[in-house]
């Protein structure tokens, strides 16, 4: 991929992030860097138990500590006692029962973090331990008591498509386990809340993915009208889904309102592991039926997603999982059952890939089994089954998106393989890395494939619109939107859009806050499409009025005017005037809401047009494995991604490389280890993320076939890179050692014992 840089940072150019240099220098202000005069610190008391009844809470000793300003519990929540993205089943503070290790019970505000820590230590909570529901199958079976008034089954969805009795000469089966991954953003949860002077409102600066959803849930819990809860986006250090749910927002606001002082809350790394939802661990059984050539005939599948103690987005994750059972392949017959269940394990919700990661790990394992049974290679089996635009999914939905699956596979296959390991090699780059555990002779190389389809935008009838305002004044543009910038680069892209549409160079992004309509969440690979569409729409409205203004001034029909670079040009006549000159003394401001086309709910047989659009990607992994020690080095990832249009190629490449690193983490090391509801490794010492020495060479190609539905032709690119790279890496490990490994992450003992 070539990155070109030209003079103007318009669409299609690799404009640099406006905050990039500051972030590299350490100058960027993240939410955790915020401070205020007279500020207090807040901290949360959390349950050490996965399931227990709270007998009593005694905070008399904590009150005696000098510097403690307030202590709040469930009794101090003035509004709705619970919150949640889809169903409001999660308490702001546990009242009678704690349902997972780390559940909040109380919060304190004090003059110093150390005072907070001592206050928390002084609060005495008496618990009666309850049996821990840790096994998802127990939650489905109904044989154990409900751990929540809403029951242990969060959602069940079946899909029945075509002829469910169909079969074929090839039948392959597998049960796949996907471990609990953490989003592991580097900037832990943080917020700074300011009470209004009249005590009836609050302003909270917070690192979040969706300001307006936070506002709605916070207002309900605070018992305030939404306009008395104003949110401002603080500097966000990564999100990946973990900032979609409420964490410290309500606590911070409550403490600020109670103390009438600014209050800052900030989680440390350990608390962060307990403070946000994780990727659902899942068990996926699939049985594929194919003809003797390896062409799919029918898929049977059963998904079990462990949602943990509270619902979060589990029901939507489930739908994503089951509706992506077939992967990017044509198959007309299917019977699928999916369950999202409640347990006393950590709550799970959104993470990059959102249910599709789990489905893809299973269907890609199955495709390789079909290839083996049919005597064809992993590329061929995927090519002969590849989905095209116009094909029908097992939900009955027609894929109207550009679906260049065959091209993605072919182009990835054309990327040269890395050179074979030389006889003499730097041990640092062998499996085991700096541990120098192996020599050249111990290493076997393997190649594996993964291809995926991912829905983008929200599904099942949800109207996740986005709003933007464009103001053009004296040759400069100010853009206003509530789109959370979590690192994905919308603050880079939005000015590119304005420059392209309006021919300006000077573009400012206004403060990102709730003083405009919702932008929807920065998730589901949706902001380029949705907020990009909103900014584009607002800029186009401004341009119409600009042309009207110029047309009137120069006596030209506005319909003849276009923007050419930074000029307004009469396509018929001779008028050419710079936008800068034409807008002196003029202010034009327009707001635009972008809505995607409506979607539908699924019926009881899982039929319905539930998704908006789809994006595709292919990955080929080359790995070196030390079979005796079970250690892995991912050598190269070749990938071709369906991006519609690369509006900022450098930014796209960033998403691809980052997503691959995250998918690699799930493939070989990242897992929250939970034993009977207890998290064993809530630290970066023991929850391992890939280092530079673990990161592979990435060779990326883009397929640019603009999607006619997308406002700018561009599909979201955030999630696909991390989805099929995980099964590709695991397939490559299987290929290297000739052993079936049905789980990820792959642990050394899975390889060598």
């Amino acid at each position: 991929m070539t990155i070109t840089k030209t003079r103007r940072d318009v669409l299609g150019n690799s404009a640099l992030r406006p905050d990039g240099a500051a972030k590299v220098r350490g100058d960027f202000s993240f939410t955790s860097d915020l401070n205020a005069e007279n500020m207090l610190w807040g901290a949360t008391l959390r349950s050490p138990h996965a399931h227990a009844r709270i007998i009593s809470i005694d905070y008399s000793e904590a009150w005696k500590i000098t510097g403690v300003e307030t202590i709040i519990t469930a009794d101090d929540v003035p509004g709705l006692p619970t919150y949640g993205l889809i169903s409001q089943d999660q308490p702001v503070f546990a009242r009678d029962i704690v349902r997972y290790m780390g559940e909040p019970i109380a919060a304190v505000a004090a003059d110093h973090p150390e005072t907070c820590r001592r206050a928390l230590a002084a609060i005495k909570v008496e618990y009666e331990l309850l049996p821990v529901l840790s096994e998802p199958e127990d939650a489905i079976s109904g044989t154990v008591p409900a751990i929540h008034p809403d029951g242990n089954l969060i959602r069940h969805q079946r899909i029945v498509a075509g002829d469910v009795s169909a079969t074929g000469p090839i039948v392959v089966e597998g049960t796949y386990d996907i471990g609990m991954q953490d989003q592991a953003f580097l900037g832990t949860e943080a917020a700074l809340g300011f009470p209004d002077h009249d005590g009836h409102g609050v302003e909270v600066h917070v690192a979040t993915q969706w300001l307006h959803e936070d506002q709605k849930q916070m207002a309900a819990c605070l018992g305030l009208p939404e306009n008395r809860v104003r949110l401002v986006l603080g500097g966000v250090g990564g999100a990946f889904g973990a900032r979609e749910d409420i964490s410290l927002q309500v606590h911070t606001a409550l403490l600020a309102l109670r103390t009438k002082r600014p209050v800052k809350m900030q989680y440390g790394r350990e608390e962060s592991f307990f403070g946000h939802v994780h990727r659902h661990p899942a068990k996926v059984w699939m049985r594929h039926h194919a003809d003797q050539n390896g062409k799919l005939i029918k898929i049977e599948a059963r998904f079990v997603f462990d949602g943990g103690a509270y619902a979060s987005t589990s029901s939507a994750v489930l739908i994503n999982g089951v509706t992506h059972t077939q992967g990017p392949y044509v198959c007309h017959n299917a019977i699928v059952d999916g369950y999202a269940v409640r347990t006393n394990n950590p709550p799970c919700g959104a993470m990059r890939g959102f249910g599709v990661v789990q489905a893809c790990f299973a269907h890609e394992g199955q495709m390789d089994k079909i290839a083996a049974a049919a005597g064809i290679d992993p590329v061929t089996v995927r090519l002969i089954n590849a989905m095209k635009t116009g094909d029908t999914l097992i939900t009955g939905q027609t894929v109207e998106s550009v679906a260049p699956v065959e091209r993605l596979i072919r182009e990835t296959n054309e990327i040269p393989l890395p050179a074979p390991l030389p006889d003499v090699v730097d041990e640092l780059h062998l499996p085991g890395g700096s541990g120098i555990t192996s020599e050249r002779k111990h290493i076997r190389r393997g190649i594996g494939w993964g291809v995926s389809i991912k829905n983008i935008m929200y599904s099942e009838g949800f109207d996740d619109y986005s709003t933007a305002r464009c103001t053009l004044k004296d040759g400069a543009v100010t853009l206003k939107f509530a789109t959370s910038e979590v690192g994905q680069g919308f603050v880079t892209l939005a000015p590119q859009i304005a420059r392209s549409v309006l021919g300006v160079d000077d573009v400012v992004c206004d403060t990102i806050d709730t003083n405009i309509g919702s932008a929807g969440s920065t998730s589901a690979s949706r902001q380029t499409w949705m907020s990009g569409g909103a900014v584009d729409g607002a800029c186009r409205l401004v341009r119409e009025r600009l042309f009207e203004h110029v047309g009137a001034k120069y006596g030209v029909d506005p319909i003849r005017l276009i923007i050419d670079d930074t000029d307004i040009v009469d396509t018929v006549g001779t008028l050419r005037v710079s936008v800068h000159e034409a807008t002196q003394g003029v202010t034009i401001s327009e707001e635009f809401e972008h809505h995607h086309r409506p979607t539908e709910d699924l019926d009881e047989n899982g039929q319905g047009n539930c998704h908006v659009a789809f994006a595709f990607v292919a990955h080929r992994a080359v790995v070196d494995v030390d079979p005796e020690l079970g250690l892995v080095k991912v050598v190269q990832i070749a990938t071709t991604q369906d991006v519609g249009k690369a509006l900022n190629p450098l930014s796209v490449l960033g998403q691809i490389e980052g997503g691959i690193a995250q998918g690699l983490g799930l493939a070989v090391m990242e897992e929250i280890i939970v034993e009977n509801g207890r998290v064993r490794n809530p630290s970066f010492t023991d929850y391992l993320l890939p280092t530079a020495l673990d990161a592979p060479v990435v060779v990326a190609r883009l397929v640019e076939e603009p999607d006619p539905q997308a406002p700018l032709g561009a599909k979201g690119v955030g999630e696909p890179p991390c989805i099929s790279v995980t099964p590709a890496i695991v397939a490559a490990i299987r290929d290297a050692i000739g052993k079936d490994i049905p789980r990820c992450p792959v642990r050394p003992q899975d390889i060598c014992l």
Binding site: G433, S434, M669, R680, T691, L753
Partner: protein, 279 residues
């Protein structure tokens, strides 16, 4: 919390004598983590960075030994002259944390903390290092095997500062290997140091017992089965690995399983015995 800053060893030992129970701080890569997690709340701290005796290393050519001060950072062992003198220590030093950790962390910390996962400890054990301890007006030398008495326990007295260690410079092949679940910056799941020193084979293991372990049976087997030139046949290496596995005492925890650790340490031993820098 008072922090004392001695500028000589005698000043440091005097301060330690005057403030019983004071916490010693060198690179801080263990201590500060404990403090940050509130696992430790030191009352008095004696910071040793300005004590020159602790930050030096020296070669005794006559004795064939090298002294390494307890505060010499790992980065000085990774390459250069020290790495030539004790290559296994260089390999162990390279596996410690990140470049930032290696710029600060030192052997004194591994000895002071005495975790079985301390990366340099198998090297000290395999080479029968002598640990030098200093208190007011006296010093004491302890074999490293006597110094490490249990998990996170050592035989340092409260009034003693770890001055450093003395190691033999290599006169046979030696090597170190460490298994972790990623390729850098990881706590050891199993590690091993093999050294052929004065013609006798030694193997020490990390993370597979309550403290760093030597394997006397495996060592004895190997000393009886070394070829005249010191080389080791494939069969002997394999049996050596098997014996090492047998002598390991690993446990299950969230980082790995006992079964894997036992297996891995045997593989490392088998490989190390045939590898290493030739003398």
């Amino acid at each position: 919390m008072p922090v004392l800053l001695p500028t000589s060893l005698s000043e440091a030992t005097q301060m330690l004598s005057d403030t019983p129970g004071a916490t010693l701080l060198a690179g801080g890569t263990d201590l500060m983590v404990e403090v940050n997690f509130n696992h430790r709340k030191p009352n008095d701290v004696i910071a040793l960075r300005h004590v020159p005796e602790l930050s030096q290393w020296s070669l005794n050519k006559v004795a064939g030994t090298v002294f390494i001060g307890s505060a010499v950072p790992y980065k000085h062992m990774e390459s250069g002259e020290l790495a030539q003198l004790v290559p296994a220590l260089a390999q162990a030093a390279r596996t410690v944390g990140s470049p930032q950790i290696r710029a600060a962390g030192s052997i004194g910390g591994n000895l002071g903390t005495c975790s079985p996962a301390g990366d340099s400890l198998p090297v000290l054990s395999a080479l029968d290092a002598i640990v030098h301890l200093a208190s007011v007006n006296t010093t004491r030398d302890v074999p490293v095997s006597d110094f490490m008495v249990g998990p996170k326990r050592n035989s340092r007295e409260q009034n003693e500062i770890i001055l450093g260690v003395t190691l033999p410079i290599r006169n046979g092949r030696q090597g170190y290997a460490k298994v972790g679940v990623r390729n850098a910056m990881v706590i050891s799941v199993a590690s091993a140091c093999f050294a052929l020193q004065d013609g006798s084979p030694r193997i020490a293991l990390g993370s597979v017992g309550p403290t760093v372990l030597r394997c006397p049976h495996a060592e004895q087997f190997l000393s009886q089965n070394l070829a005249a030139d010191g080389s080791v046949s494939d069969d002997v290496a394999k049996e050596f690995g098997r014996l090492v596995s047998q002598e390991s005492k690993p446990i299950d925890d969230h980082r790995s399983t006992a079964v894997y650790r036992r297996h891995a340490v045997g593989v490392l031993a088998q490989r190390l015995v045939q590898r290493g820098v030739q003398s």
